[in-house]
Symmetry: C2
């Protein structure tokens, strides 16, 4: 399996053709997996926004006050309003906002980016990243799979890693259940999140800074003969962390 | 960056020389990252065990009863005793046991494997996987980095992905903070868990079943010029999910 960043991509702006621009810089083949940073998908889809266009609700003001009293720094209530408007539910409000997007992703600040935003203040996630992936995939002259990637933190472990938020032309998971291991035992738990692992591999070659490459290609990945599913996000009923976080009260536990 | 599974590895057992066996099957180069499944490290380190050698405590019996009343199936209290003995703390007891190992990893059932265990019932994680990684690394004639990998589930997202539990010859994270993005903004949050991303990439080529390959090599990964840290596991004070889970009571929330 070979993983490489697509070289020489220009800055993308609203309305640009992502697939054609990638094919100008790199020969894309059938069965390649093209991993595209959500930031450029957002830019092309006009998801840059300005803080000044958000009018904070009472709720946004209240969350801003909670965050400010915990962290000291003033948190702009217009930013919080942008998060509320781009979320279907806030899982936590403090010590940071973890929210559920309409397409099912749970992320800090609804995944809204305050860097990499061009002349605007904010860059919102694509509205429906799997639809974006399908549209970009259609536009390639070759027949690759497409994954829209983001980076995300996680509990128990520090730092961030690449994750998928949208995908087309490849299943989300590969199912090893029922298969027999080398000792003849049936494998216990083994549904593998292939698209997240591909996104992590892509993030190793794309970088995030000044000379960042927002697109990586994974070539000669073999999915193999396996059952698969297209499920990336857990159902709430099967997510004890989500349940526990919703019940939890930060100030109560921290004596504030 | 090139990722490939090492072919033709034999079954490993207690006392086998992992590095020499890998070098018999594949040419390993300086600067390769050799990702080794924790199962074979455990086997070589004599971490296979039998259920019959565990004598359930009152606590193990009580947890077994809680799990059985939730899931219906009887959970062997000797298995729970093995988890307790291999953990420094249980974060949750139900609906599944999430525990902290001595080396800092938080995983389901203390990462104890009931498949891939040869003639024994259980395979415990290595006692100190970073020490294992350092010892294996020393034994190579070339000078690669070594990562001991496992697979793990996560909240919010279904399925499992490869993660690192031990490492040597490579930092845990790559730090992009303070760097400037393409629009001249300082990057907000960007410490990257390089060893977890490498473990995820490795898991894409190793497979888990009958023809599983327990070792993958990542060649031509460029770490680049970045600050780095050797921290993989979150401090408890900085882990709201751990705090929330410890406060949470499954039966209370589920009316049982």
């Amino acid at each position: 399996m070979h993983v490489f960043a697509v070289p020489d991509l220009p800055e993308f702006t609203n309305g640009d053709a992502i697939a054609a621009t990638i094919e100008d810089s790199s020969d894309i083949r059938d069965d390649d997996v093209v991993c595209i940073a959500s930031t450029i998908v957002s830019k092309v889809e006009g998801r840059a926004a300005d803080l000044s266009s958000f009018d904070p609700s009472t709720r946004a003001d209240r969350i801003s006050q909670r965050l400010t009293s915990i962290h000291g720094d003033v948190v702009d209530p217009r930013f919080i309003q942008a998060i509320i408007e781009d979320s279907t539910e806030l899982i936590t409000e403090v010590p940071f906002i973890l929210s559920l997007t309409e397409f099912g992703h749970i992320g800090v600040n609804a995944g809204i980016d305050r860097s990499n935003t061009g002349s605007n203040d904010l860059l919102l996630l694509p509205k429906d990243p799997s639809r974006s992936a399908a549209q970009i995939r259609e536009a390639f002259s070759a027949d690759p799979a497409v994954i829209v990637t983001d980076t995300s933190g996680r509990p128990f472990r520090t730092a961030q890693r690449g994750v998928a938020i949208g995908w087309a032309g490849i299943p989300a998971t590969r199912d090893w259940r029922g298969e027999i291991d080398r000792d003849g035992h049936e494998l216990e738990v083994t549904v593998e999140s292939v698209i997240d692992e591909l996104s992590a591999a892509a993030n190793l070659v794309t970088g995030e800074g000044n000379d960042g490459f927002p697109v990586a290609v994974i070539r000669d990945f073999e999915f193999g003969e396996h059952d698969s599913t297209d499920t990336l996000y857990r159902a709430e009923s099967n997510d004890i962390v989500r349940s526990a976080l919703k019940e939890w009260n930060y100030e109560e536990e921290n004596g504030e």
